[in-house]
């Protein structure tokens, strides 16, 4: 395949057209044969006043057109655009922004993930009526009105807000603009100018100017409806809308397993040149653009099952188009080529007409159904379609497969000035991607505000409804991939579709916590001996690929030392020489393996601890998790440690007592073979050593009313009975760790009862660890002083968290137990991830899923706020003064003007004056200016507004010298910082 014909995949689509609020509604409208034509809505212009059936000068011969229902709605907050700037922006730009965002999402990619990428933006448009309205209002011309206008800015703004670095350009070839943009974008990808492209077309009718033009040119249909290829065709009915598609190399899309709507196999663009008048179409040029496109695509006309024609419904235009099509398609072919035009449904959407036809054709190929073309029942006999090898698409039909199971269609779009485009499309290659069941997944939803979060949760709840459980992994993975990047977020561990849906619905009923936190600061607590049980971690191994993989790694590292698979013993309950997981020679490596695998799996998913703490034997996996020990070193040490202890004569006792270390000190001093093995809290210690001695102390304590509990142990760990094991352990001289490494996270040592640096954890430390008491309470207290936000127990059940709670050492941290004992299902691990994500941690989700689950599925597009309205049109303009109407609709029927919003009363102080300045520059209500709001990202303060801010600060703070902006910028990111800065400057001023 040469570069010239490299196949380009259409991977994402979003659109809004008259009568169709989104892609699915558009499809329904097409299949049902409905249209979006209505009377001119009052907010556009006075349809009656401009109407003249005779089409006199300055008049329109129709009161109808295809108008969008809410082109004034814009979620300015989402894009970090100030209301002032939003109000000064061409609504076409605003519509493009939202549609571009959703189209990228539809391609299975988070728009944020494209930041910095070589993604191109190609926007076709031919009307800038906003400019007409605003650019002659000289006194009202602001900086924002400048950047809010213009074709180039429409494209560039998408590049700016999504941070896309590929070519960004607007295309105006009149009615063919957006199909020409598609051609240019596909070529730019083939040429390597960009790796993917956002292609758009947009059109809005704000004034009757073009309607008057069409009327005067004799092209305007009196009923405002395009009747393509119909005997009743009597001209153009205008339409509007926005359509966006995302293009990529087919090979890239398939490699990424992206869903593909259709494939662009080839396209061509040409010009009529000197035809019978500049606006007259040319049959010969149309014929040659078709031929060129098929040649490039390497297909024969007979391979094309349908053509989405230009089909404006003008007598001459339809005749010439059909003749050109007939010249190419009229030859021998198995079935006539089906012909239709979306203009019958949504009118002639001008700059968006080409993309509307392209989207219709892509959806048709994706669904293998060609929708009917309206007015086909009055097909024009003069066109002699049958003789031309053509047939109008009457009623929806299932498209027959051609050779190799491929279905092909083509799209035409011809510009008023003679620029023609034709695009050849094929159905996507059939790739079956069977869903893989099992495992645990996390569904994520994110948005920019709490209210937005609710809207988007509702959309997701609807999307998961009725899906088979097999799909759950793919759905979870898709939400992680596409829907996890925004600030307000929720997540839930999903075990079945029904449960996930019910929990999503539950979230909508309950209040969703939306407090702003910083990034989570996580501490891992590694459990000690006694927590083990046969079967521990087995459910997680079955459910969680990274845990399974890391466990296998630990198993392999331990096997040379143990001679058996430790996971067979720990998770499957096998035995070695009659000994199971409760024999300390196996307990220690078993716990280590589970803890190593759990911490490593969490790290694989992006959870890295700020601090760790290990209770006794738990310190080995903790040392691995912080990079102090390698897996091989730790495996050798733990296996040796366990074996040496096992080799000691059995006997000894460990007794937990409800008493403080001070209280037992004297009693312990009297028993040379007994020591305090652990201090777990202010009134919780464990005695260990010679059984007789330990029981004597326990009896004495019991007598004084203390609760004592003898633990089931094989040996008295952390007691003088361990001295020989410690000596032998030292003799093994673990030379590999002669030079300990620095720790990547703070290591709270239970040997030292404080934080220990990585190089403290030398061989001598590990020898000392065998006999030294476990100073859990002190180590935990040190850890707590670091103020972790989350404590995660790394062990087979929750033990240390309980000790920490009883010792009052958890602070405000959330406590998470990813493996809560024998009842664990694996879902708790997912719930741990869900909590960390919801609280602000960004995770690397991919590895949570099996291969067959890492398949992006299309999810509903982001649901934007539609309560904020910004509008200007011929109806709102008086003379040369363009007045923008902005309003906030609370509900459909309850409209309150922006000025009526509650306003915080301001005092006279400098802080209030600064706040007022910010509000005024951005046209915000003062009440909306939260201290943590970022001026640039959240409030849309661009360089122009920052300059204004500098000027106003100088004024309101009554400074003699203007504040240099270069001094202001590095110090001030948020509103709060700005206020602090202002207070400081004003203090200095007073001095």
């Amino acid at each position: 395949m040469t570069t010239g014909s490299e196949h380009i995949a259409v991977v994402g689509i979003d659109c809004r057209f008259p009568g169709a609020g989104d892609k699915d509604a558009f499809w329904d409208m097409l299949v049902r044969g409905e249209h979006g034509v209505s009377e001119v809505p009052a907010p556009r212009w006075d349809g009656a006043a401009f109407h003249d059936a005779a089409g006199g000068a300055g008049r329109v011969n129709t009161r109808f057109g295809a108008f969008m229902s809410d082109p004034d709605a814009f979620d300015f907050e989402f894009f970090g655009v100030s209301p002032r700037e939003a109000a000064a922006m061409d609504p076409q730009q605003r519509m493009l922004l939202q549609a571009a965002w959703r189209a990228v999402e539809d391609s299975g990619v988070a728009p944020g993930a494209l930041a910095g990428s070589a993604t191109g933006v190609f926007v076709g448009m031919m009307s800038s009526e906003w400019a007409t309205l605003h650019l002659s209002d000289y006194p009202g011309l602001t900086a924002h009105r400048g950047s809010g206008n213009g074709y180039c800015m429409a494209a560039n703004r998408v590049s700016y807000h999504l941070d896309l670095r590929g070519p960004s350009t607007a295309v105006d070839t009149a009615c063919s603009s957006s199909l020409v943009a598609t051609h240019l974008a596909a070529n730019a990808i083939r040429a390597g100018d960009c790796d993917q492209a956002i292609v758009a077309g947009v059109n809005l009718m704000l004034t009757p100017a073009l309607s008057i033009f069409y009327t005067q040119a004799g092209l305007s249909a009196p009923d405002g409806r395009c009747k393509p290829f119909s005997g009743a065709a009597d001209g153009i009915g205008r339409g509007e809308g926005v359509g966006v598609v995302v293009l990529r190399r087919l090979s890239d899309a398939l490699a990424d397993r992206q869903p593909v709507y259709a494939v662009i196999e080839g396209s061509a663009v040409n010009q009529d040149g000197r035809s019978n008048g500049i606006t007259a179409p040319s049959r010969w040029s149309q014929e040659s653009v078709l031929t060129a496109a098929y040649a490039r695509a390497g297909v024969r006309p007979r391979d094309i099952a349908f053509v989405e024609g230009h089909g404006t419904g003008t007598t001459l235009g339809d005749m010439i188009e059909v003749k050109a099509l007939g010249a190419v398609h009229g030859g021998p072919r198995p079935q006539p080529c089906l012909l239709g035009s979306v203009k019958g449904n949504i009118g002639h959407a001008e700059g968006a007409a080409g993309i509307a036809g392209l989207i219709k054709a892509c959806l048709a190929l994706d669904r293998r159904v060609l929708p009917p073309t309206l007015h086909s029942e009055t097909e024009s006999p003069r066109l002699k379609l049958a003789e031309q090898g053509l047939r109008l698409a009457r009623g929806a039909v299932r498209l027959p497969k051609g050779a190799n199971g491929t279905v092909r269609g083509a799209v035409s779009s011809f510009g008023l000035g003679g620029t023609n485009a034709h695009v050849v499309l094929a159905s996507a290659p059939v790739v079956r991607r069977p869903a893989e069941p099992g495992g645990v997944g996390v569904l994520t939803v994110s948005a920019n505000t709490a209210a937005a979060l609710r809207r988007n949760i509702a959309a997701l709840a609807e999307a998961v409804e009725g899906q088979p459980d097999e799909r759950l992994g793919q759905l979870c993975h898709s939400t992680n991939r596409v829907k996890s990047g925004l600030r307000q977020r929720v997540a839930l561990a999903a075990t079945s579709v029904a449960q996930a849906r019910a929990e999503l619905r539950g979230l909508l009923r309950d209040s969703i916590p939306t407090e702003q936190r910083g990034k989570p600061k996580v501490a891992f607590l590694f459990t000690g001996q006694g927590s083990q049980f046969a079967g521990m971690g087995a459910a997680l191994r079955a459910a969680c690929p990274p845990f399974r993989d890391r466990l296998a790694e630990a198993d392999a590292a331990l096997r040379p030392h143990l001679g058996v698979s430790i996971s067979a013993i720990a998770l499957d309950g096998k035995e070695r020489d009659g000994l199971g997981v409760d024999a300390t020679a196996l307990t220690q490596p078993a716990l280590f393996a589970l803890q190593y695998a759990l911490a490593a799996a969490l790290a694989d998913l992006g959870v890295r601890p700020d601090a760790v703490l290990g209770h006794s034997v738990g310190e080995f996996a903790a040392a691995c998790a912080t990079g102090v020990l390698t897996l091989a070193e730790a495996a050798a040490m733990i296996a040796t440690r366990g074996a040496l202890m096992q080799a000691l004569p059995p006997g000894g006792a460990m007794i937990a007592v409800r008493a403080g270390a001070d209280e037992v000190a004297d009693l312990v001093a009297a028993e040379p073979l007994v020591s305090i093995a652990a201090v777990n809290g202010p009134d919780s210690v464990v005695l260990s050593g010679d059984a007789g001695g330990a029981r004597r102390i326990a009896a004495a304590l019991a007598e004084s009313g203390r609760k004592v509990t003898e633990l089931v142990v094989s040996h008295g760990f952390h007691s003088p009975l361990m001295t020989q094991a410690a000596r032998d352990f030292g003799d093994r001289a673990f030379s590999g760790i002669a030079a300990p490494r620095p720790a990547t996270a703070a290591f709270a040592s239970t040997v030292r009862g404080r934080f220990a640096a990585g190089d403290e954890l030398d061989p001598a430390y590990w020898v000392e660890q065998i006999t030294a008491p476990v100073r859990f309470a002190d180590a935990m207290a040190a850890l707590a002083r670091r103020e972790p936000t989350h404590l995660v127990e790394i062990g087979p059940r929750g033990v240390l968290l309980g000790l920490a709670v009883r010792a009052g050492l958890t602070g405000g941290a959330k406590r998470l137990v990813p493996v809560p004992g024998a009842a664990a299902t694996g879902a708790e691990f997912a719930a741990t991830l869900a909590t960390l994500y919801s609280d602000g941690m960004d995770l690397d989700w991919d590895r949570l899923y099996r291969d067959g689950q890492r398949v992006p599925r299309r999810l509903p597009g982001y649901v934007f706020a539609d309560t904020e309205r910004f509008w200007a049109s011929a109806a709102t303009v008086r003379g040369n003064t363009a007045s923008v109407v902005t309003e906030k609709t609370v509900t459909e029927d309850q409209v309150s003007p922006r000025s009526e919003r509650p306003v915080r009363r301001l005092g006279d102080g400098p802080v209030d004056a600064v706040l007022a300045a910010v509000a005024e520059i951005g046209d915000y209500a003062v009440a909306d200016l939260a201290p943590e709001a970022k001026l640039h990202e959240d409030l849309g303060f661009d360089s122009i507004m920052v300059m204004q801010l500098g000027d106003q600060l100088t004024e309101v703070l009554r400074l003699t010298e203007p504040i240099p902006v270069e001094e202001l910028l590095p110090r001030v990111t948020t509103v709060g910082e700005l206020l602090a800065f202002a207070a400081e400057v004003s203090q200095e001023g007073k001095r």
């Binding site: 899906q467 088979p468 097999e470 799909r471």
Partner: protein
């Protein structure tokens, strides 16, 4: 079959939790031990909440769920489906046919749909038609079978006086649906359908299973909506099953010793055991479900296929037999693992 037929995946849907014989005894006064011993069905699923009497699932619900599961396992999308065939004795309504509601649920449009009025041989009939529909243009199709006996479970009646002949239906039957995605393309397909036998053999014979339906005129005085001739069933079904088995084996040119799996008729746990004995395919592993699912008619062979799917390895051969005693239909098919 002119085009090779492959099964890409199967799906199953059973409503709610299994209802055991003790629960049936509590609800209907049936003798749990008797059911266990003479019917051999241990559990079944109902699309009705036995406590409240409310219908929890329609046939469209179950058929859509089974089909969606099969589609997701096959990795095919709604647009890939070229036709649907649904076999059922108990459509939710006579119109619209349930198959069309299922298509709607699944997002399938502009394709041929068929609904078969069928019983225990319905799944075989659906497979037969599905296999014949595959051609150059129709490469992928859905075949579904399911039944919901909600309309026949009378929950507000005192059953203590009901004759055992009527009560047996309560413990015998169950609800559910199963589905398979058929394809003319072999890529990644785990099974190949090598032959289907589907034949009416009831000329001049009285039906042994009758289910009536009534419209506005209502149920005639004293009429029973469901009636079975259990004697005829016991007498004739085993012999018919043996005939079907041998015809299938002969057609395939298979020796019975080369068969790895046997999917026998699923009348009841006990009857199935008897038939398996008479089929005498030694060495083949029996794949049955009726003891756990109850007799859910059109779903049964699909549920057996669903249970077979993970076990059928490359080169394995399987034979399925289904007999419908309503008007004496013979059914069966042979499969090869790939």
């Amino acid at each position: 079959m002119n085009t090779d037929t492959f099964i890409l995946a199967t799906g199953a849907a059973l409503p709610g939790d299994p209802v055991d014989n003790d629960a049936m005894a509590r609800r209907f006064g049936t003798n749990a031990q008797w059911v266990e011993l003479f019917v051999g069905t241990r559990t079944r699923h109902f699309a009705v909440d036995l406590e409240t009497g409310e219908q929890t699932h329609t046939l469209a619900d179950l058929a859509s769920a089974a089909a969606a599961q099969a589609m997701s396992r096959a990795g095919v999308e709604a647009a890939d489906i070229d036709f649907l065939v649904l076999g059922t004795a108990t459509p939710d309504m006579l119109m619209p046919a349930t198959v069309n509601l299922v298509a709607d649920r699944l997002g399938i449009d502009q394709v041929a749909t068929y609904q078969l009025q069928s019983g225990c041989a319905g799944a075989v009939q659906a497979l037969d038609i599905g296999a014949r529909l595959l051609d150059e243009d129709r490469r992928t199709g859905l075949v579904i079978g399911g039944d919901v006996c909600a309309k026949h479970l009378v929950l507000d009646r005192d059953t203590s006086a009901t004759p055992p002949g009527e009560l047996i239906n309560y413990v015998l039957f169950g609800d559910g649906a199963g589905a398979a995605v058929l394809s003319a393309d072999d890529e990644g397909a785990p099974m190949r359908l090598t032959s289907v036998l589907n034949r009416f053999t009831g000329l001049g014979r009285d039906p042994a299973q009758v289910i009536h339906w009534w419209g506005e005129t209502g149920q005639p005085e004293g009429a029973r909506s469901v009636a079975e001739d259990y004697k005829a069933i016991e007498e004739r079904v085993p012999g018919m099953a043996v005939e079907v088995l041998h015809e299938l084996l002969d057609r395939a040119g298979w020796d019975s010793s080369s068969v790895s799996f046997l999917l026998p008729p699923q009348l009841s746990g006990r009857m199935t055991q008897r038939i398996v004995k008479e089929l005498a395919v030694d060495g083949a592993t029996e794949v049955s479900c009726v003891a756990e699912t109850g007799n859910n008619g059109n779903a049964l062979p699909f549920l057996q296929l669903d249970a077979l799917a993970p076990r059928l390895g490359p080169g394995h051969r399987a034979v399925a037999v289904a007999i419908e005693s309503s008007k004496w239909l013979k059914g069966g098919f042979t499969l090869e693992g790939r």
